[in-house]
Amino acid sequence: MSAEVVHHTVTGIDNRKFGMWVLIASECFLFGGLILNYLVNRDRGLVGPKAVDIFNIDITTLSTFDLLMSSVAMVLALHACQQHDIKKFRFWTTMVILGGIIFLGFQYFEFHHFVHAGLGLSTNVFGSSFYLLTGCHGLHVFVGVLWLTSMLVTSFVRGKDWFPSVQLEVAGLYWHFVDVVWILLFTVVYLFVYL
């Protein structure tokens, strides 16, 4: 087992974890601004298709299930890591990564369909604000996939005695936040399409 360095801090919370929470708090502003931008502009498109014409809620619900399940896999990966169970740690981390890749696949499919339906990035302000919001979220998922992949690869390089509990917990916080943002986007962007 690799010895994890425990830093004594004023707050009593590991600095890496505290730093991630500061980042998450600041990301609330980013996504808050993007959601506001979308809600203001979604009905202002003068040309091209509107949201109600092109959204496919069935597909989006499936991608929501996928992201929720990847969050479950994330907590199970962390639990296995804390229990020093290398097989389950690697298995569940792989499941999280796969969940993220599948979600990105759904998003690619959705964007591809929308572009073919005539909604490009610059077609109208609805398209611009929609792609900016969901694309920014997709970028966060992509970063999470890269992050967890690097941890999985490192696990194989460093051997079966490497259990990065704190690092995985920090990566998990990021991943769950991305999931939480999607919970909001699914409701506000997709389910409120008729409002």
Partner: protein, 95 residues
């Protein structure tokens, strides 16, 4: 807090929550598909926002361990969320 053991949720509870989260998402989908709700925004909006809020609290509280971690983290997250909501409200009223 590194190096300390927290009383985190059990694996069984994580799976139960996974089932509940999927069930709520299914309910959201069903509400969306329902003509009754679709034609009645006054019912649909609070219902969907409520369901979304339940999922939000479950993921933040248990999966992100806010329920078990020091309260300063929840306060910091709440501050970020609250400020974002305040900006949204002000902009919404102004536009």
């Amino acid at each position: 807090m590194a190096g300390k053991n927290h009383a985190h949720a059990t694996v069984g509870l994580y799976w139960k929550f996974a089932g509940i989260l999927c069930f709520i998402t299914f309910i959201e989908w069903a509400v969306f598909k329902s003509d009754t709700f679709r034609s009645n925004a006054k019912m649909m909006v609070p219902l969907l926002l409520g369901l979304s809020a339940i999922k939000f609290v479950m993921v933040c509280g248990w999966y992100m361990h806010l329920r078990y971690d020091p309260s300063v983290l929840a306060k910091m997250f709440g501050f970020g969320l609250g400020l974002a909501a305040l900006v949204y409200t002000i902009m919404h009223l102004a536009l």
